[in-house]
Structures are given as structure tokens and as C-alpha cells.
């Protein structure tokens, strides 16, 4: 059925894939973002690993094919122009290719959907999330403005803090909103990213693991000092978190009366337009 050329390529492909795929599946997670800072981050690493493992045979096929064709089927130097065989099409090759690529793609989409619907994978899901993990979650609001993030804890009297501190081993419900332009709240090690839109309550879920310091960066171009819109956050043991919240409530008590009442969105007044 296959020509001798075809047999060589297919054999080499299968051998290479069988060797490479398990290696990739084992070693890729060590290098993959965003690490194991939260349940969602670990899921993303797993997701990336599965995708890489599925794509490895595809990579092997192209590597083997091109290595073979470009070496074996090249025209000898100085040869007169000579035409190759007039192969116009081959129904079997077409059918196999279309079938394999369709199966791969549908599997990837199905797998991605399954992973997404577990808990939203740390991504912003808008005001009414479809991937809503069960159990208790503590709500934390992320307010983006040009050019910093602040955080409010509605279950602790709506105290507003300049730094994000989260309790360990807890499901957190992040409500991301903005006061002006579009920003994007990116807590890298937690595997969380949610755009901050003015007038929108964008919800993302994350389940923290052990204590950790993580980076927060703005990931959507938001104007002049976008490049400076970053901060650190911390995941701390639950007892320490309770103490921290208390200290914040104490520290910000004098300004608390100037804060607007806690809400899912805010429209600051007046809306200034630059000229």
C-alpha cells in the first residue's frame, strides 16, 4: 500500500513519537507556567502538558517528513531541470489527514471545555460565571485604576488595602472592576487573569495553596504608566490573615468614612476627559 519512501517516513515517525511523547509528558510540567501556586495554576500546567503531549506526534511527523523529503528528494547539484512524478492527489492520504486533524482538534476543544468548566481556570468570567465551584468562597474585590490596584474585603467591613493578601487553602472569589480604562488583573503565580472593565464586575475563582509571595501585573495596555502597574501579593496562613485584616481595618479606619459604600462597580465623579 505504502511506497518504500512512505514506509520509512511512517516508521520513523512512529518510533520518534513513541519515544518523544512520554518524555515530553514527564518533563514538560517542570518548565511550564505558571507553576503550582494555586489549584488553578496546577490545572493550567496539567492542561498545557496534555496539549503538548498530544501535539508532540504532530511535531514529530513534520520533523521526520521534512528531514526526509528535503534530503532525499532534493535535485542533485547541477542537474538539468527534471520533472517529478505528476502526483495530483491521493484520496487515502486526504482522508487520513482530515480525519486525524479533526479528531485531534475536537479532542483538544473537548478537553479544554472540560477543564474550563471545572472552575473557570482562573480566568475572568464576567458578572454571572458559568463555571462556579461549589463550597464557601471569600469574596475579594480588585479595583484597578490608572495606575494601581487596590483591594476591598467586603466580608471584613469593606476595608480597602493597597496590597493583596489571601488566606492559604481557601477558595477566593475575585471581583475585578475598574474606575477608568480597561486594565487586566494578572496574578501570575496564582494563574489568575481577569480584565478590569469600568462598570463591570468580572469574577474569577482561585483556590490558594500554601503560603506564597506572588506578582501582580497589569496585562492590558491602560495608558501612560501601564509599565509601572505592578505589585506583590501574599498568601499567608489563615491565622496570620485574620491578624492582617484586623491591622488593616485599624490602619485605614480614619479614611474609611471617605470610601464609597462597597459595591460591585463604581463610577467616580466627575468623569474627567483629557483634552
Amino acid at each position: 500500500m505504502l511506497s518504500s519512501d512512505g514506509r520509512k517516513v511512517v516508521t520513523a515517525w512512529i518510533v520518534l513519537s513513541v519515544i518523544a511523547t512520554p518524555l515530553v509528558a514527564v518533563f514538560a510540567p517542570r518548565f511550564y507556567a505558571p507553576g503550582n501556586g494555586s489549584v488553578q495554576a496546577t490545572e493550567q500546567v496539567f492542561d498545557n502538558t496534555v496539549m503538548t503531549a498530544i501535539l508532540t506526534p504532530v511535531i514529530c511527523l513534520l520533523v521526520v517528513f521534512f528531514a526526509y523529503v528535503l534530503v532525499v528528494h532534493r535535485a542533485p547539484r547541477g542537474q538539468e531541470l527534471r520533472d517529478g512524478p505528476a502526483l495530483r492527489s491521493d484520496a487515502t492520504v486526504q482522508a487520513v489527514w482530515v480525519t486525524l486533524s479533526s479528531v485531534t482538534v475536537l479532542f483538544l476543544a473537548g478537553f479544554g471545555t472540560y477543564e474550563l468548566l471545572q472552575n473557570g481556570s482562573g480566568g475572568g468570567q464576567g458578572p454571572s460565571p458559568i463555571a462556579n465551584p461549589s463550597g464557601t468562597k471569600i469574596p475579594v474585590q480588585v479595583i484597578a485604576q490608572q495606575w494601581q490596584f487596590t483591594y476591598r474585603y467586603p466580608t471584613y467591613g469593606g476595608v480597602e488595602t493597597p496590597q493583596l493578601v489571601l488566606p492559604a487553602d481557601t477558595y477566593v472569589e475575585l471581583h475585578v472592576t475598574s474606575l477608568d480604562a480597561i486594565h487586566s488583573f494578572w496574578a501570575y503565580e496564582l494563574g489568575v487573569k481577569a480584565d478590569a472593565n469600568p462598570g463591570v464586575d468580572n469574577i474569577a475563582y482561585v483556590k490558594t495553596k500554601g503560603p506564597l509571595t506572588f506578582h501582580v501585573r497589569c496585562a492590558e495596555l491602560c495608558g501612560l504608566w501601564h509599565g509601572y502597574m505592578f505589585n506583590n501579593g501574599r498568601v499567608v496562613p489563615q491565622a496570620q490573615f485574620a491578624a492582617w485584616v484586623k491591622s488593616q481595618q485599624h490602619a485605614f479606619a480614619p479614611v474609611a468614612k471617605y470610601l464609597p459604600k462597597y459595591a460591585t462597580t463604581y463610577y467616580p465623579d466627575p468623569q474627567r476627559r483629557a483634552g
Binding site: 519512501d5 518548565f31 488553578q40 492542561d47 498545557n48 496539549m51 501535539l55 504532530v58 513534520l62 517528513f65 521534512f66 523529503v69 528528494h73 535535485a75 527534471r82 520533472d83 517529478g84 505528476a86 502526483l87 495530483r88 492527489s89 491521493d90 482530515v98 486533524s101 485531534t104 482538534v105 483538544l108 476543544a109 479544554g112 477543564e115 474550563l116 481556570s121 480566568g123 475572568g124 468570567q125 464576567g126 458559568i130 475585578v176 480604562a181 480597561i182 501570575y188 494563574g191 487573569k193 472593565n197 469600568p198 463591570v200 469574577i203 474569577a204 506578582h215 496585562a219 495596555l221 491602560c222 495608558g223 501612560l224 504608566w225 509599565g227 509601572y228 476627559r273 483629557a274 483634552g275
Partner: protein, 619 residues
């Protein structure tokens, strides 16, 4: 005396003078209407309307100066339909309104090349700034303007990067016609684009713009007046694209020579058809969106200002409804060029012609159903994320058809490694990496981390620079000897290829790692942990820029100074353009050819695939 007389009339000089004059007319007229400023907070002595009117009247004056209104006025005054403009003159016709599609093609090549070069210089400035983790060279606002200028110029100007020069030049020849369906509109698309390029670059006089190439709202509403230049540039590009696409479709549908059935069209023509469909359907959305954004600023309409009842999501939706077909407008001509060139250098027919056409049309169709994958974490329409994940990943199937057709065309061929072929093979490498990384971006869970990071930036540089720009160079090396009649030095071309290929990959591959390590796009500062990667990337980018300079040197040296005549068919191609003399005569064909097959009959006997009929100069 004669030189002085030739300067008077409808030409580029008059156009520039009328353009500048028109700018001031619009500026002062708007001033007279609405006074110094309609914005309470503005601390500058002009209003936005005068800026917009200045540029619109400037463009109008520019087009009048070139002579675009002469023909409509002549018709209004009762003159009969006339011949086309300046089709027999000498070198002068390259510097004005000319309706010879071959002249327009050359104009496009030089004009787009010029702006591509400027966009590339902006990239060099970006990489200079990113040599250090903290802001060093430019103030933050200047840096953002440079980023915006680079992105906007590349995404706007290069949409016509292949259709402009090569489709305008080749489509009439490939389908056996003497001209495009609308030759004056064809010229208009080019001169609109040049006016747009100037408008974009002059943003620096009005404070630049901080939004990057996407112009997200409400940032655009609060930005400097320079944002108007961005809106006007992209809107004019949109008009140019729409007209270009309609012209291409009309030409291919109505002007094919006898015997040239749909299944005998060269695959490049199919690439042009699918790209044109995208242009005609997507670009008007962009024009409308940007018009609304301009109105938001000059007339306070608040389409996109959330606090006033508008919606920034509306802008994101509209922009990406254009924006995603846009990236396929950039990519599809590359697919087509690869499939067009491979058979010539593999000496085999194009494998799976119908499959390849199906692949191009499949991408065209699907690209209208994927735009919200740019908005996975934006909180918009979260219920539909699985659908957009599926539709995005489905695009790999028609794209894969392009791959299998290309690969099977190489299979058992006699492959010659000429320069155009090298660029096409590099396309497989680059676009494969671009496509694989696209799988990660289209997967919603994985996209949480990669969205808005250098990972996505590296991804679209692999697909657009690796996909479009590499095939752009393949097309230059392949067709320019036909277009100019002169050879391009092959040794320098090979050095150009290898340096470009190596430094392109060494520039953009590490950016995937930087993105995975958490570096966001468009930032002037970054973490110390990615400092080494950024230095590496910057040095590679400078070397990549050097490779481009080498190309420029070779191009000018070969075509202006060496001028070694090229043979009529240097590659041994069976396609019709190579049966014509180099350069192609003004009327293309003495008699319209009659086609009896497609141009891929390598290794086949039987009826000659070379079109019958008598090409000009051959009778």
C-alpha cells in the same frame, strides 16, 4: 522650460501642495465653526474637530492634486468614457495617478516597502528600550507611541503587503486580462494608503497615542489628540482595503480569459479571492467603528464611554470582528504564495488542488466566528467561551489542508533550493510554530496565563512575520525579476535568507519563554528575571534589522546599479506570466490567451498546459 512646464498640472508635487493647503483649509474652517476648543479641559489652542477636518481636507486635496477628480468631472461635463491615464509614458508614470496595473503594483511595492521599513525602525527602538528592565531611553509616553506606531503600521500597511504589489501586478496577467476591472479605483487604493501612512506618522506632532494598534476604549477617549491620527489612518486603510478587495473580486469574477475555469485558476488567485472576501466583509466594520470613536471625541457621542451609557465591550467586539479576519487577511496570501511557488521548485503539480482551495475558503469562513478568543478573560459573554475555543481550534483543520497540500507537493519531487523556495520552506517552519502556539492561546484555560503576555506577542509575530513577511520576500525574489526585467543577486539573497531566518527565530522564540515567565506586552519595565532573555532578543532583533538592510542593499544594487537582464522564465515555471517577456509590455497580451489547463502540469504529457494564444512580443 519643459521641466518647469511638467511640474505644473496634476502630479505628485501638486498633490503634496494641495494636500498641505487642504489641511490648513480644514483646520481653519473647523476653527471658525466651533472656536478654539470644545473641550473644557483642553489646554491646547485647537479643537479636535479642526484636527480631523484638517486631515480629511488634506487627503481630499492630495487626491485632487493627483487628478482623481478629473475623470468624474469630465464625464459630468459630457465627455465620453475615455482611455485610461498615463499608460504609455516613461518613468514619470510611477510618480502619479497611473491606471496600468503593473505600474500600480510597482508603486505598491516601493510605497509599502518604505512604510514597512519605518515600522521596522520602530521595532528597533522598542528593542533598544527593552535592553534594560527599567525605563532608560524613552519617556513612558514616547515608548507607548513607538509601540503603537510599530503595531499599527505593520497591521495596517501590511494588510495590502501582498495583494497590493503582487495581486495588482499579477492578477490580470494570471487570468489573461489586460487590466483590472476598476483601474482608477486600483490607483486610488494605493494613494489612499500613502496618505494614510503620512497621517499615522504625523501623530508625533499631536502627542502620539497610548493605545497600541488595538485602540481600546475608553483609553482612546481620554488620550492625546494624536489618537485621531490612529483612527484616521486605520479608517483610510479600511477604505483602501475594501476597495482593493472589491476590485479584485470583480476582476477575477468577470474578466477571466476563455478556458480559465474555476478549477484552472492558479492557487494564488484563489488566495486573492479569499483574502478579498475577508477585506470586503471585515474592513467596513473597522471604518464604522473608528468613525464612532472619532465622533466620541469630536462630538461627544459616547458610544464607547461606559460612564455615559456607552460600552467598551462594544468597541472590543467591533474591533475584533474586524481584527481577527484581519490577521487572516495577512496570513492567507502567504498560504497561497507558498502553494504557488512550491510546484515550480519541486517540479511537481500542486497536490490536492481542490483540497487547497477548500482550505483557503474554510479559513475565510471560520475566521468570522472566532473573534472573541481575544476576549477570553475580559468577562464578555463568558458562556460562549467553549464555542469560541472550538471555532478557533477548528481553523487548524483548513490550515492543515494547506500544510498537507504543500507537503505532498514536495513529496518525491526534484527540489531545487532557490531563494524563493527557501523562503517558502521557512514559512512551513515558522507557521508551524505559530500554529502550535496558537493551540495554547485558543485553549481557554491555558490562555488565562498566556493572554496579553509576550507569549501571544511571539505567537502572532511567528504567524504574521514568519507567515506573511517571509512569503512577501519569497514573492519579491520570485516575481521581481519578471516585474522589473532584472535579476536579483542570488548570493546576497541567500545570505539575506539565512540571516533573516536565523535571527528571526532567535528573536521571537525566546519571547515565548519570556511570556511564560510572566512578561506582559507593551510594558516599558519588566522583571529582572527576564532581563537576560530580553537582552538576547534585542541583540537578535538588531541583527535581524541588519539582515533587512542587507536586503535593501541587494535590492537597490541589483535593480538600480547592476541591472543584469533576467531571462523570461528563470525558474522554469509553466505559469502564464513567465511566458511573457520581462518586463511585461503595457498591454500584457497582443491577443487574449485561451487556457486549456492549470499551470501545474509538471511531469505530465498530453495537452499543453501553457495557455494557447499569443502573448505580446511573441508573435
Amino acid at each position: 522650460m519643459t521641466v518647469a512646464r511638467r511640474l505644473v498640472g496634476f502630479n505628485l508635487l501638486t498633490a503634496c501642495l494641495l494636500g498641505i493647503g487642504g489641511w490648513y483649509v480644514g483646520w481653519f474652517a473647523a476653527h471658525a465653526v466651533v472656536g478654539p476648543s470644545i473641550d473644557y479641559f483642553a489646554d491646547v489652542d485647537f479643537n479636535e474637530l479642526s484636527l480631523v477636518m484638517g486631515y480629511l481636507c488634506g487627503v481630499l486635496g492630495f487626491l485632487v492634486g493627483l487628478g482623481f477628480l478629473n475623470y468624474p468631472f469630465a464625464r459630468l461635463r459630457g465627455y465620453p468614457p475615455s482611455l485610461r491615464e498615463k499608460e504609455t509614458g516613461g518613468i514619470g508614470r510611477y510618480f502619479g495617478l497611473c491606471t496600468d496595473h503593473k505600474v500600480v503594483g510597482m508603486q505598491y511595492l516601493v510605497g509599502i516597502g518604505f512604510f514597512f521599513f519605518i515600522g521596522g525602525l520602530n521595532a528597533m527602538l522598542i528593542r533598544t528600550e527593552l535592553l534594560r528592565p527599567s525605563a532608560q531611553v524613552f519617556p513612558a509616553g514616547t515608548y507607548l507611541t513607538i509601540v503603537g506606531l510599530h503595531g499599527t503600521m505593520m497591521m495596517g500597511m501590511m494588510t495590502s503587503g501582498i495583494l497590493g504589489p503582487f495581486a495588482n501586478y499579477l492578477i490580470p496577467i494570471l487570468i489573461g486580462a489586460r487590466r483590472m476591472a476598476f483601474p482608477r479605483i486600483e490607483a486610488l487604493t494605493f494613494w489612499l494608503l500613502m496618505a494614510a501612512g503620512v497621517i499615522l506618522e504625523t501623530t508625533i506632532f499631536f502627542g502620539g497615542f497610548p493605545t497600541g494598534w488595538t485602540g481600546y476604549q475608553p483609553l482612546g477617549t481620554q488620550a492625546n489628540p494624536g489618537i485621531e491620527n490612529y483612527y484616521l489612518f486605520f479608517a483610510l486603510v479600511g477604505i483602501s482595503m475594501t476597495l482593493l478587495g472589491m476590485n479584485m473580486l470583480a476582476t477575477v469574477v468577470t474578466m477571466r480569459a476563455p478556458g480559465l475555469t474555476w478549477t484552472r485558476l492558479p492557487i494564488f488567485v484563489w488566495g486573492v479571492i479569499s483574502t478579498s472576501v475577508l477585506m470586503v466583509l471585515a474592513a467596513p466594520v473597522l471604518i464604522a467603528t473608528l468613525s464612532m470613536a472619532i465622533l466620541d471625541r469630536v462630538a461627544q457621542t459616547n458610544f464607547f464611554v461606559p460612564a455615559q451609557g456607552g460600552s467598551q465591550y462594544l468597541y472590543e467586539n467591533l474591533f475584533w470582528f474586524f481584527g481577527h479576519p484581519e490577521v487572516y487577511i495577512l496570513a492567507l496570501p502567504g498560504f497561497a504564495i507558498v502553494l504557488e511557488i512550491l510546484p515550480v521548485f519541486a517540479r511537481k503539480p500542486l497536490w490536492g488542488y481542490r483540497l487547497a482551495v477548500g482550505g483557503l475558503l474554510g479559513v475565510t469562513l471560520l475566521s468570522f466566528f472566532v473573534w472573541q478568543h481575544h476576549l477570553f478573560v475580559s468577562g464578555i459573554n463568558a458562556d460562549l467561551r467553549p464555542f469560541y475555543m472550538l471555532s478557533t481550534e477548528l481553523i487548524s483543520i483548513p490550515t492543515g489542508l494547506t500544510f498537507i497540500c504543500g507537503m505532498m507537493t514536495l513529496w518525491r519531487g526534484n527540489i531545487r533550493y532557490s531563494v524563493p523556495m527557501l523562503f517558502c520552506l521557512a514559512w512551513f517552519f515558522n507557521f508551524f510554530i505559530g500554529g502550535l502556539t496558537g493551540v495554547f492561546l485558543s485553549d481557554t484555560p491555558s490562555d488565562t496565563t498566556t493572554h496579553g503576555s509576550f507569549f501571544s506577542m511571539a505567537h502572532f509575530h511567528y504567524t504574521i512575520m514568519g507567515g506573511l513577511v517571509f512569503t512577501f520576500f519569497a514573492a519579491i525574489y520570485y516575481w521581481v525579476p519578471k516585474m522589473t526585467g532584472y535579476q536579483i543577486n542570488e548570493r546576497l539573497a541567500k545570505i539575506h535568507f539565512w540571516t533573516m531566518f536565523v535571527f528571526f527565530n532567535s528573536t521571537f522564540f525566546p519571547l515565548f519563554i519570556a511570556g511564560f515567565m510572566g512578561q506582559p506586552r507593551r510594558v516599558v519595565t519588566y522583571a529582572n528575571g527576564v532581563h537576560f532573555i530580553n537582552v538576547w532578543v534585542s541583540v537578535s532583533a538588531f541583527l535581524l534589522g541588519g539582515s533587512m538592510l542587507l536586503f535593501l542593499y541587494n535590492f537597490v544594487k541589483s535593480l538600480v546599479f547592476d541591472r543584469v537582464p533576467a531571462p523570461a522564465d528563470p525558474w522554469g515555471s509553466k505559469s502564464i506570466e513567465w511566458q511573457l517577456p520581462s518586463p511585461v509590455p503595457v498591454q500584457n497580451f497582443d491577443r487574449i490567451p485561451v487556457f486549456s489547463g492549470d499551470p501545474y502540469g509538471y511531469g505530465e504529457t498530453g495537452p499543453t498546459p501553457v495557455p494557447a494564444g499569443a502573448p505580446a512580443g511573441m508573435t
